[in-house]
């Protein structure tokens, strides 16, 4: 009897914890396309919101790789649809292996990049893609969305990036 009660109390506590946790952050609902702003310079991009992608990805022109104190760094250029561009230098955090259909998989460098979507500015891991045949130069993956956003696949461009941070 006591065992059952203890189990019930534990279940109650777990569900209470779950409820408080899920209510703690009000998730913002966004569409499958959104305007985002990247880096301190707030370069604006049209991004596709992709719940099917693990990591966020941006099209980049890689300029050079170098080392500082045994760390690998990368210099790259980002260009948006308005022809504006920025050059950035970042430490390479790791590499991701991208599985491709009918082709050998490739490795992409992963760096930390600040991205503003709506009112939230977050530093997340972003992989640098040197691809050209895509309509959107940025894909927002689950590593950016988790805990902050819900995606409505019937909506597009629900907000403008207005981060104050």
């Amino acid at each position: 009897m006591k065992k059952v009660q203890a189990k019930n109390i534990l279940l109650l506590l777990i569900s209470l914890l779950y409820i408080t946790n899920t209510q703690a952050v009000e998730k913002q609902t966004i569409g499958w396309l959104e305007h985002v702003a990247v880096g301190k310079q707030r370069l604006q991009f049209k991004a596709k919101i992709d719940t099917g992608a693990d990591t966020t990805s941006i099209r980049a022109k890689i300029l050079r790789e170098f080392t500082i104190d045994d760390d690998d760094w990368i210099e790259f250029e980002l260009s948006n649809q308005h022809g504006q561009s920025i050059k950035l230098q970042q430490k390479i955090e790791r590499y991701v292996k991208i599985k491709r259909r009918l082709m050998p998989s490739i490795k992409r460098p992963v760096i930390l990049l600040g991205v503003c979507l709506g009112k939230v500015y977050r530093n997340v891991e972003v992989n640098l893609a040197q691809r050209k045949n895509f309509k959107y130069s940025m894909l927002i993956g689950r590593n950016y969305l988790q805990g902050f956003y819900l995606v409505d696949s019937a909506e597009t461009y629900t907000s403008l990036p207005t981060c104050t941070q």
Binding site: D50, R101, N133, L139, D152, S153, A154, T156
Partner: protein
């Protein structure tokens, strides 16, 4: 957006009753326009002058022992761009999808893509308006009902490109 909206995870269990699939794990993919099924073969044939496809599915992830052989009417053939940017002409079929307690028809393209982790992708045209996708959650809808009672209405306003 009218009416109550439900949150689903980025992975969900779904059933495709018309194809004899009672349970398959699908990735809910707002980055894809059309839904996709990854078959291990796709063959076209004609039955009573109607163009049909016969295809094989391995419904369990990482398991090639269990096979389901399906037949469906071809709705059309369409160029579809995959996540690697390659355009491929694929068969499109229409079939009913069960998610939780709801059932609705979706368009699905068939691809020979058995090496992919997820046997099915649910794209934007298959995610009906009342669902929001939470990238931090999985399997929120539970097991697909054997007798679903809800019939959400589709709207095909989910963008043109993949």
């Amino acid at each position: 957006m009218a009416g109550q909206q439900f949150v689903i995870g980025w992975r969900e269990w779904v059933a495709l009753p018309e194809l004899g699939v009672d349970k398959v794990c699908c990735k809910v993919d707002t980055g894809a326009r059309t839904s996709a099924l990854h078959a291990f073969y796709v063959d076209e044939f004609t039955k009573d002058e109607i163009k049909m496809v016969r295809f094989g599915l391995h419904p369990k992830q990482g398991n090639t022992k269990k096979e389901i052989h399906c037949e469906a009417k071809i709705l059309e053939q369409r160029d579809v761009m995959d996540s690697g940017g390659h355009i491929e002409n694929r068969y499109i079929i229409e079939t009913k999808l069960i998610l939780g307690n709801a059932i609705w028809p979706i368009e699905v393209n068939l691809t020979n893509r058995d090496t992919m982790r997820y046997r099915m992708l649910l794209g934007r045209t298959g995610i009906v308006d009342k669902y929001l996708v939470d990238a931090s959650a999985s399997y929120l809808a539970g097991r697909p009902a054997s007798v679903p009672t809800q019939h959400p209405v589709m709207s095909y306003s989910h963008g043109e490109e993949e």
